[in-house]
Symmetry: C2
Subunit: 144 residues, 2 copies
Amino acid sequence: MENKVFRNFLGKKGLKLTKERTAVLKEVFSFHGHFEPEHLYFRLRDRGVKASRASVYRTLHLLVESGLVEKIARSGKGGNIYEHTYGHHHHDHMICEDCGHIIEFYSEGLESIQEQVCIDNNFRGISHTLEIRGYCETCRELKP
Amino acid sequence: MENKVFRNFLGKKGLKLTKERTAVLKEVFSFHGHFEPEHLYFRLRDRGVKASRASVYRTLHLLVESGLVEKIARSGKGGNIYEHTYGHHHHDHMICEDCGHIIEFYSEGLESIQEQVCIDNNFRGISHTLEIRGYCETCRELKP
DNA sequence: ATTCAATTGATATTTAATCTCAATTTCAGT
DNA sequence: ACTGAAATTGAGATTAAATATCAATTGAAT
């Protein structure tokens, strides 16, 4: 399914569906969770797929543009973090400062207010990251 | 007074208040808005303050640790973005992927929904970061 | 004033990501 | 299937941010 979306996206822009792009697309959707470009590059290498670092980065940009992948910009160290989002529900994160536990959540209200804020500012929002930091149910008792 | 806060922070950690740290602190609080470490470094140079790049970066980390400064985002292009937050109201950010332009915004609705989401998840929210990425008024026309 | 751990700064290094450009590949039109 | 124009690739160079190194220097507790 994502193949179709990507093919369509490329077609519209007069771009070509190459072996390399196909391979990157496939790899990105073959696992769940977050990844950095470098990880993706080595994953492909390990599978014996020949795709240069440059192509991986370039394809990743196209995937983001096409809406299949999102950049999750919060990496303290290392590179940018991405995840494939097509077919998945968007969600935000709460992160426990103590134990690192992550709670995913989604709020229609948050989404629509953000859309409105973008409109108010003549901004074309593509993606966003909302991270709430604090203490989870278990750890909050230890931090009075 | 940010001087006092910083001095106190350093004291607690057994660190010293050097000329360089004082200068960086002063510079960071001498203007409003966002900045990147490199900009800060050159600002100081232009003023004739001798502080090495290394010291600027190191002091910046200390300022973040002390709570006087926050890291807002990792800009699409260039370096990390910081702002001094001591004595300022909370706000969120939109960042243009193309030109790096930042729009600050605040929404009471967003804040209250987040509070509710925290309650729903038995989470004690302490702080949050919301970053909306996309294209600003100027750049959106170049990306049809 | 003495002492010693913390700090500085010039430079080298690391790391992510982009750029270059000749060689190759895709794909629309025939 | 063939052809040619235009897009794409890849190896390596390049850029840029940020960190590490370490001898010389400095702050501040005593």
